[in-house]
Amino acid sequence: MKKSKELTGNIFIIERADFDALLASLIQHKYQLIGPTVRNATIELCEIGGTNDLPVGWTDAQNEGTYSLEKRNDKALFGFASGQHSWKQFLHLPTVRLWKTNANGLSTESAEEEHPDRSVAFIGARSCDLHAISIQDKIFLDSLYADRSYKLRRRDVFIVAVNCTKPGGTCFCSSMKTGPKATSSFDLALTEIINDHQHFFVTEVGTERGKEILNEIPHHAASREQVASMEELIAGASRTMGRLLNTDNIKNMLYRNYEHPRWNDVAARCLSCANCTMVCPTCFCTTIEDDTSLQGDNAERRRKWDSCFTLDFSYIHGGSVRSSVKSRYRQWLIHKLAAWIDQFGVSGCVGCGRCITWCPVGIDITKEANAIRASEKISSTT
């Protein structure tokens, strides 16, 4: 085990050859590794066993309503952007059983068996997703009530972040100031540098825990050139984002425009299929389902992911408040980019671009918001 010499602060180099040891070390520390893998013609997040499970040599081509995998001409481990999965499904579970009861006066059990038995390590989390996680932390841990299920899962997560050196086809994290560089909430942050004669990871240590894991594998101090190289790549990614969202006073801009005609335009296209809410790493809406057994002697309450795009999401006696697709799309966008700021102090959007890629009709949230801003009728009276 090499001793690290800290020439450039907390930044080190892990050679590609030693990367496998990083994952092995985490496994040895009893972490369940969750990371990207090629499956179902996309890159999904699931349990992985080692480097071989990663999308080695793969990249993605993303645009409005399109996603495809393409082979790279190198063997980069993280040469792709986000797939349809986000880390939200591991912290804010799609289904949680809240309790179970029997008919004779509610003898109940809480959902103790949902408690995870192993700590989890996220391998390859991008900065946008890290921001999404801390946004969900605000919702589930810092609000009037705290959510136990989220808390149990969040507590010990080990995060190996990856800085993007090339933006994905639908990314706009630089507009949302959520990347491409991970600046917090990670244990280790890797920037993959690969070319014809080198392949290594510039590694930034974020926590003591990260340091301990790093110390167990071969690594050496980063030179100033290597650090500069990393910064330049990341800056390049920031500069070449394909999309921009003007966030200047966006909250009030959207609040002013509940009746903008653009909503009719997007409503004509939107299928209210709810894809965007499912792939969005910050969407958190759920529904509560009470299930009774056929014999009527047992009942369970479950919490499940839900979407504000469903017709009965806003149902009160007699009908839904948001019965038109227009009102539901408007609700989602204005919540995401404006109301979220009043509710949680930050924007709900991290610029990951997933909603743009996975919308079957290719609706682009940046285009819609920018269009409303551009064609807003400024009242001439005060």
Partner: protein, 290 residues
């Protein structure tokens, strides 16, 4: 709050799974109020504490095997040992609740939500404007006003409902009306000729009610259309918008601000409401399909 079991104190918030767990309450009394409204008197069981609440708050009522609904608490905050809920049977769960009997059990979670500003109204005239079942969430506030009657100026209760047969808490309204220090004015949308009371919309009662618009707190609860027209009538009389309070209603599932269903613009009706100062929501109130 009795029903949220705190198993761990954090700097903010308490664990929420327990506040998703209903506590068992026994039904001690079932009373029919009108053809579609009924009142349940409930009592905590299994050693649980009584449901202490403030006027305007609601519980989630769970009926085994049927489902859960948010219902305002309509009892007296001073006597929380009896938990009172007046329910209107409009959907599958509330219609099923209408069939319960004394001795059976319901699951109760709560209390949740913001409250009528009864304490803040001290020194003012207070006007209570209720429409239909909207009188039920206002009754606890009325009880509190009466408990300290001398601390308020004029008190007026204006109540509108469909027909004389739909008048909620009729006997109590008659008792209140018999007091010399409360103005009670009731109107119905229509009636047969043996009705000796008022017929017309509840907003008709506002110009004639006795209160000082510049020194009043007005509490409004009823169908949203009724609240909208009531606010216009109050504005006409000069009541400032931050002295008008309304109780909003939206779809609720969790009641603790996580499921997102009750969102109303930037507000969560379950925790920022259901009682809102109208001034706070005035920019949202007139947006359709919000």
């Amino acid at each position: 709050m009795a029903n949220v079991i705190e198993t761990e104190r954090e700097s903010k918030g308490v664990l929420t799974v327990e506040s998703m767990l209903p506590l068992r309450f026994r039904i001690n009394r079932v009373r029919k109020e009108t053809h579609d409204a009924f009142t349940l008197d409930l009592e905590a069981t299994d050693g649980a504490a009584a449901c202490k609440f403030s006027p305007g708050q609601f519980n989630m009522l769970y009926m085994f095997g049927v489902g859960e609904v948010p219902i305002s608490i309509s009892g007296n905050p001073e006597t929380p040992d009896t938990l009172v809920h007046t329910i209107r049977a409009v959907g599958p769960v509330t219609k099923a609740l209408r069939t319960v009997k004394r001795g059976e059990f319901l699951g109760i979670r709560g209390p949740f939500g913001s409250t009528w500003p009864v304490a803040e109204a001290v020194g003012n005239d207070v006007v209570v404007v209720a429409g239909g079942i909207g009188l039920a969430p206002l009754r606890p506030a009325i009880y509190q006003l009466f408990a300290e009657r001398e601390r308020y100026g004029k008190i007026a209760i204006l109540y509108g409902t469909r027909t004389p047969a739909d008048i909620l808490y009729r006997r109590e309204l008659e008792q209140w009306r018999a007091r010399f220090d409360i103005e009670v004015n009731i109107t119905v949308d229509r009636a047969t000729s043996n009705w000796r009371g008022n017929v017309g919309v509840v907003t008709n009662l506002i110009p004639k009610a006795t209160f000082d618009p510049y020194n009043s707190t007005v509490l409004v609860c009823g169908p949203e259309i009724m609240m909208r027209f009531t606010i216009t009538a109050l504005q006409k009389r000069g009541v400032p918008l931050d002295h008008i309070y309304v109780s909003m209603e939206r779809n609720m599932k969790c009641a603790v601000g996580f499921c997102g269903h009750c969102q109303y613009g930037p507000f969560f009706v379950c925790k920022d409401g259901p009682v809102f100062s109208f001034d706070r929501i005035k920019d949202w109130f007139y947006i359709r399909e919000l």
